[in-house]
Subunit: 136 residues, 2 copies
Amino acid sequence: MGEQKLFIPKGYRKTKQRESILKVLERAEYPITAEHIFMELKNDGIDISLSTIYRNLEMLTKEGLTVKSYMMNEDKARYALPDKKNYLVCEKCGKIVIIDNCPFDKFKEELIEVHGFDITGHSIEVYGICPECQKK
Amino acid sequence: MGEQKLFIPKGYRKTKQRESILKVLERAEYPITAEHIFMELKNDGIDISLSTIYRNLEMLTKEGLTVKSYMMNEDKARYALPDKKNYLVCEKCGKIVIIDNCPFDKFKEELIEVHGFDITGHSIEVYGICPECQKK
DNA sequence: GTTTTTTTGCAAATCATTTGCATTTGAAAA
DNA sequence: TTTTCAAATGCAAATGATTTGCAAAAAAAC
């Protein structure tokens, strides 16, 4: 509940590039691409190279601060803070809606019991038609 | 319940390449890569080009006969018949276990109610440590 | 401030996937 | 069946997202 506190993981240096990437990820409402971050920062007048973005996203994902995912019919990765990990995608207009109060948690126990896995994470992607597109 | 019946979607021709790709997908126990299919067929003595595999996987996915997904820390797509769409991945050994009786169905209604989406599909990926790796 | 180590930017390299095109093949029509 | 023609294949070349090498710039340590 409340704001997600951003931080640079221990052992890594604080740089303006790193901080600005986190800032973009924080204000994003759904998973975004490296290119998207690049553009966004360009708009903010922040000059950064794409490779720096990729290197940081890799690091952040390894450290568990971000989650990487792919969307249907897309060839590029998207990244988001973990709380935006589960989402609905409209097949018509592409709208993305975050699922909060993820239903999955209720099934965790069941999965643990059935398969014996010690579960550390999950990612859910749901496709469908959004209310607006249904009307058309 | 029972065997999944393979078929080439209406409007497409029956070719030995197409049939052999479906055969490999059927006997696969979890999502596999295009390269994997290529190797598998090579073993079977079937000569096929990678682009043919990619073209067919694209078609099969568009027609809904296969599902495309990406695994954590992997840069290549995997394909599977829809019944192998939801799976558990062991972060240590990489073992993949299919989730059948997908828990998601129970939440479909809730999601429909909350977001108003007309849901057409979903994909769930769960990470954890398998029972064997837990013992180590 | 100086040193040491990490991070960045740039350009070049990778690598999975896609595409153009000539050739082959399936299947509909004769 | 044979003919006919669009669809499918193979190959090589193109693409495009992501990665990497390396020298220069910037943090944090000294």
